[in-house]
Amino acid sequence: MIWLELAIIQRALVGCLLAGFLTGLIGVFVVRMRLSAIGYSMSHGAFAGAALGVAVSVNPLFTAMSFSAATALLIGPVADKARLHADTVTSIAFPLNMALVFIFLTLSPQIGLSSEVASVLWGSVISMTNNDMVYLTTLCAAALALIHFFWKELFAIMYDRKMAEADGINTKPFVYFIIFLVGLVVTLSLKLVGGLLIFALLFNPASSALQFLHDMKKIVIVSPAIGSVTCVSGLMLSLVLDLPIGSCIVLVSTFIFALSVLLSPKRKRKEVKQ
C-alpha cells in the first residue's frame, strides 16, 4: 500500500516537474507575443474537450487534444483567413468553450463530481499515469528541439512581430506553431492542474521571470525553472493540506509573482546621487 502511494506521488512529482517546465517555457512566448487571450482560450478549449471525454466515456486526453487543435485552428489560420482579429475570435471561443464544458458535464449526471470530473476541473495527483509521463517527456524534448532550431525567428517575433515581418521573416508559421504548442502543453498538463486553473501556469512563471531579468535568453531558462518549482511546491502544499493540487499550484505561482513584483529591480526607482 505504501509502495502504491509512493509510486503515485513519484509520478505526480515527475509530472509536476515536466508540466511546470513546459508551461513555464511556452509561457514566455505567450506573454511576449501577447497571446495571453489565446492561451486563456486554448486552456478552456482543452477543458471543454476533456469534459466531453468524461461525458461520453472516451479518454479525455484525446478529446481535449481534438478540442485544442480545433481551437488553435480557429484562432490561428481560420481567423487570419476570415480576417478576424484574434481578440474577436478568442472572445467568442472562450465563453463557447465554457458553455460546452457545463453542457457536457450536465448531460452526464451519472458521473457527477467523480474523481475523473474533479481531475478535469481542478487537477488531481492520482490522475497521472505512466503514459502521461511518456507524453510529457516527449513533448518536452520536441518543444526544446523546435525552439532551439527556430530560436532566431521566435526571438525576433517576440521583440516586434511587424519588424520581424519587415526583415523578411515569415512570421505566421511561427505564431501558429506557438499556438499549437500551447494547445498540446495545456492538454497534457490538464489532468494535473485542472482546466479551470491551467492558464495561470502559462502566465505567472514567465511574468515573474520578466520582473527580474534583462536578457531574453536567461528568461527562457529561468521561467521553466520557476514553473517546475511552482508545480512541485504546489504538489507538496496539496499533500500537506489535503487541498486540490491545481488550486495549490495557482496559490504558489501567484505568491511567487507577487514576491517578484515586490522585489523587482526593474521597478525600483533610481537613487539620485548627491
Binding site: 480576417r83 532566431k152 526571438f155 515581418e165 519587415a166 526583415d167 523578411g168 521573416i169 515569415n170 531579468l213
Partner: protein, 248 residues
C-alpha cells in the same frame, strides 16, 4: 531599365475603415534615387512606406519592387529592404540588448535554421559604429533614450545591407548634433551602396539638398512630385510652412 520601385494606381485601405489611407498612387523610383516624402499628419506617408514594403494588403493596383509583385513575393523582397518605422519605442523593462536588435536586421537574409555567424556580427557592429551607438551594444533597449533607440533602429536597417532603405521620420528623436550628422551619413551610405532611399519627414528643409526628388502627399494622394529646386519654389510660395496646400 526596370525601375526599382513601381506603384501603379495603388489604393490601400485599413481594415474597418471606409476611406483608403492612400488612393490611386502612381510612383516610380530608379536605382540610387533618394526621395523625400512630405505632407501633413494623416497624409498617408507611413501607409505609403508600409505599402511599398508589402506590410499592408493593397485594395487596388499593383506594387512592384525589383519587378516582383509585393503581394505575392513580399517575404522574399523584404530581405533587401531596410525599414525604420515611426513607432519604435520600447517599454523600459524590455529584455533585449541593443546588439540583439541590430542583429535581427540580418535574420531574414540569414534564412531559417541558420544562426548568425561572425560576419553577421561584424556587419551589426559596424552599423552600430556608424550610428555611434557601438558602446551601447550590451545595454537593454528599454534603458536607452528615444534618440539612442532611433539610432539603434537605423543601425538595424543598415546592418541588413539593403538595396532599398525606407525611413519613417528617422530623425525625430535625435539630439541637435545627431540631426546634423546622421542625415549626411545616411546620404553617404546611400551613395556608397547605390541604394534606393525614401525618407518620410515633417521637416522639409532638413537634407533637402541631399535628395533627388520630393514627393508631396495630402489626403492619401500624391499632390506633387518634383526635384528639390521646384520643391523649394513650392515651399517659398507656401511661405515655407505648408507646401501641400499650394502644390499644383
Amino acid at each position: 531599365m526596370e525601375p526599382i520601385i513601381r506603384l501603379e494606381s495603388v489604393s490601400t485601405i485599413y481594415e474597418g475603415e471606409r476611406r483608403p489611407a492612400i488612393r490611386d498612387v502612381n510612383l516610380t523610383l530608379d536605382q540610387n534615387e533618394l526621395v523625400y516624402v512630405v505632407g501633413p499628419n494623416a497624409a498617408g506617408k507611413t501607409t505609403l512606406l508600409e505599402t511599398i514594403n508589402g506590410l499592408l494588403p493593397i485594395f487596388k493596383g499593383r506594387v512592384l519592387v525589383f519587378g516582383l509583385d509585393m503581394q505575392t513575393r513580399g517575404k522574399d523582397v523584404r530581405r533587401e529592404i531596410g525599414y525604420v518605422p515611426q513607432d519604435f519605442m520600447v517599454e523600459p523593462g524590455e529584455p533585449y540588448a541593443a546588439l540583439d536588435v541590430v542583429l535581427m536586421g540580418r535574420y531574414g537574409k540569414i534564412g531559417v535554421l541558420r544562426r548568425p555567424d561572425k560576419e553577421d556580427l561584424e556587419k551589426a557592429t559596424e552599423a552600430m559604429r556608424l550610428m555611434d551607438v557601438d558602446d551601447l551594444a550590451n545595454r537593454p533597449m528599454g534603458k536607452l533614450s528615444g534618440g539612442q533607440q532611433q539610432k539603434v533602429m537605423i543601425a538595424r536597417a543598415l546592418a541588413k545591407e539593403p538595396r532599398i532603405l525606407l525611413l519613417d521620420e528617422p530623425f525625430s528623436n535625435l539630439d541637435p548634433d545627431s540631426r546634423e550628422r546622421i542625415p549626411t551619413l545616411i546620404s553617404r551610405v546611400h551613395e556608397e551602396r547605390k541604394m534606393t532611399t525614401i525618407i518620410v519627414t515633417h521637416d522639409i528643409h532638413q537634407m533637402l539638398s541631399l535628395c533627388s526628388r520630393v514627393v508631396v502627399m495630402n489626403s492619401g494622394r500624391i499632390v506633387a512630385d518634383e526635384n528639390p529646386e521646384k520643391a523649394l519654389a513650392i515651399l517659398e510660395r507656401a511661405s515655407g510652412s505648408r507646401p501641400w496646400e499650394v502644390a499644383p
